[in-house]
């Protein structure tokens, strides 16, 4: 089931003490991977809940359409965020042996923000998808702050 988040007006935030990443930092981190190549939308599906009950553990699955043959396969999936203290989430390396370019994990999101997934093909092409996620926190927690 595909799920794209919708942009919303507000979010409850929990910011860590260190400086946060910014959309510019994320763009720079993406550029380090893609260089000057064009990044096209499409082929990538970023499955992440649009409204997250707790930013500590957010399920995320990236799926990329690809024949996954020696001639044409996804060789890497890179995921970035724009508001955590640093812009990377994960880098996965794949090969035709994977059969399917689908990677699932759980991530931390410090704030309502955009998450971006970039898929790199064996032909040197880049495709991307992004999702806007609202992050809420639990009401009764351990710390008073």
């Amino acid at each position: 089931m595909q799920r794209r988040a919708f942009i919303a007006g507000f979010a409850v935030t929990v910011l860590p003490i260190a400086a946060a990443a910014t959309p510019e930092t994320m763009a720079a981190a993406i550029k380090q991977v893609t260089g000057d190549a064009a990044v096209r939308p499409g082929r990538v599906t970023l499955d992440i809940p649009p409204l997250v009950e707790n930013g500590n553990t957010v399920p995320l699955t990236v799926s990329v359409e690809s024949p996954m043959t020696e001639a044409d396969f996804i060789k890497a999936i890179h995921v970035f965020n724009e508001k955590n203290p640093q812009p990377h989430v994960f880098d996965a390396r794949l090969s035709p042996r994977n059969g399917k370019a689908v990677v699932g994990t759980r991530i931390k999101l410090a704030d309502a923000q955009k998450v971006v997934a970039i898929a790199e093909t064996s032909k040197g092409e880049f495709f991307s998808a992004s999702a806007d996620v609202i992050v809420t926190i639990a009401a009764c927690i351990e710390d008073i702050t």
Binding site: P16, I17, A18, N56, T57, V58, T61, N81, N84, P85, Q86, H88, V89, F90, D91, A92, R93, L94, S95, P96, R97, N98, G99, K100, V102, V103, G104, T105, R106, I107, K108, L109
Partner: protein, 106 residues
């Protein structure tokens, strides 16, 4: 010995695409949180995860501090020969964990 939970099929048909899921207990301390004394708790994360099938790499993933505690990974692979799938995690503070599952391919 790390606490690991792996879900991989015990049997598969050759050429079948199978899903492998792995959970490992680890705090994944980001290095961005302050403790109650106001000082930053040092970073302690798993950095790399690799999976091999009879020694050949089938998947690799680099984690950042943005991966949640007790990290979960799922990926797919095409069933090759019968043998052993080895999952390996390495990270800060010399952390190394390895887990093997046997698989019979017919």
């Amino acid at each position: 010995m790390a606490n690991v939970l792996v879900n991989a099929p015990k049997t598969a048909r050759k050429g079948e695409t199978v899903e492998i899921k792995a959970l490992i207990m680890h705090p994944m301390e980001t290095g961005f949180r302050a403790g109650t004394n106001g000082r930053i708790i040092p970073r302690n994360i798993i950095e790399h995860f690799t999976a091999t099938w009879n020694g050949s790499e089938i998947f690799r993933m680099d984690f950042s501090p943005a991966i949640a505690a007790n990290p979960f990974v799922s990926f797919f692979t095409i069933a090759g020969e019968s043998g052993t799938i080895t999952l390996r995690w390495t990270g800060d503070e010399g952390f190394v964990a390895e887990h093997q599952v046997a698989i019979t391919v017919t």
